[in-house]
Symmetry: D2
Subunit: 92 residues, 4 copies
């Protein structure tokens, strides 16, 4: 990971946890079903990108926490790309 990445701005709606430890964003939906439909699409995305988010789903809330284990649990370009892809899904 380059120093540049450390200083990349978080994608819209995301926050950086700690010193570039993770990208975090919570989405709130209307109900469990709507949240589930979203999670189901993110699962496809994650497999295609071969980069998987940690996410916590509690009824209508889904909180993503993106970090790259193989890079030593820090935020990398892969996390930024996944965050942007999740944002794009959320807008569609």
């Amino acid at each position: 990971m380059s120093d540049d990445l450390i200083h990349m701005d978080a994608p819209s709606g995301w926050e950086i946890e700690g010193k570039n430890v993770a990208l975090v964003r919570e989405f709130v939906f209307g109900d469990f079903s709507e949240a589930w439909g979203f999670v189901s699409r993110v699962a496809l995305l994650a497999e295609v990108m071969n980069h998987h988010p940690e996410y916590t789903h509690s009824f209508s809330r889904v909180k993503f926490r993106l970090s790259t284990h193989d890079a030593g649990d820090v935020v990398t370009g892969n996390d930024h790309a996944l965050a942007r892809a999740i944002n794009k899904l959320a807008r569609s």
Copy 2:
């Protein structure tokens, strides 16, 4: 099944196959992911209603075919209720 059911109008967007054999509707989405998100929500619905559609999913197209096996493979009120619930999801 009562004669009344035979003569119920199909829910909006659905067609009746044969002589009240099944309710049929195809939905077309933007891509596989969007279709999959919808199917995932219908799966929840079906389990909750304990009435499951036959559906054929081919990339961005999902075609539902609703019929009640236990009533002799005819359309019953359960199929009408499921069709309306699927419509409601599609509008949300």
Copy 3:
């Protein structure tokens, strides 16, 4: 919630967090896909029981945390029932 519930043993494989605050269990699968297949079945279960787990899914790991919000964020009989149903799925 009765005092009895406070003292119910946790279902097999589950731990009680705090003073009956939540039932917690982590499952570890072979990969993301296997974990996802399991989560997908638990989603159906949760909607049918109308009682939804909080779960955190990170690649091949899924950690459930069951608690009843409407009862004041404590473990109720509904949580025990859901935990047992999840156990049954895991064995199948």
Copy 4:
């Protein structure tokens, strides 16, 4: 598509529809939930391979029909690869 493909044997458990029009296989599960768990994993597979099956899911039965639209609705090597990947999932 080469003549070789026309004469490739179908993967174990699959049948060839017509004159190499599609690979077809039906899986029967214990219930809707089990079938759904399988379909959910095939969805991931399909997105990763960027080759999507047509499938019909009816309660505990899932019938796949693999064909390559871009090649003129015939069976190609991509269909064989997807069929083998689905078989591998079914064995796991």
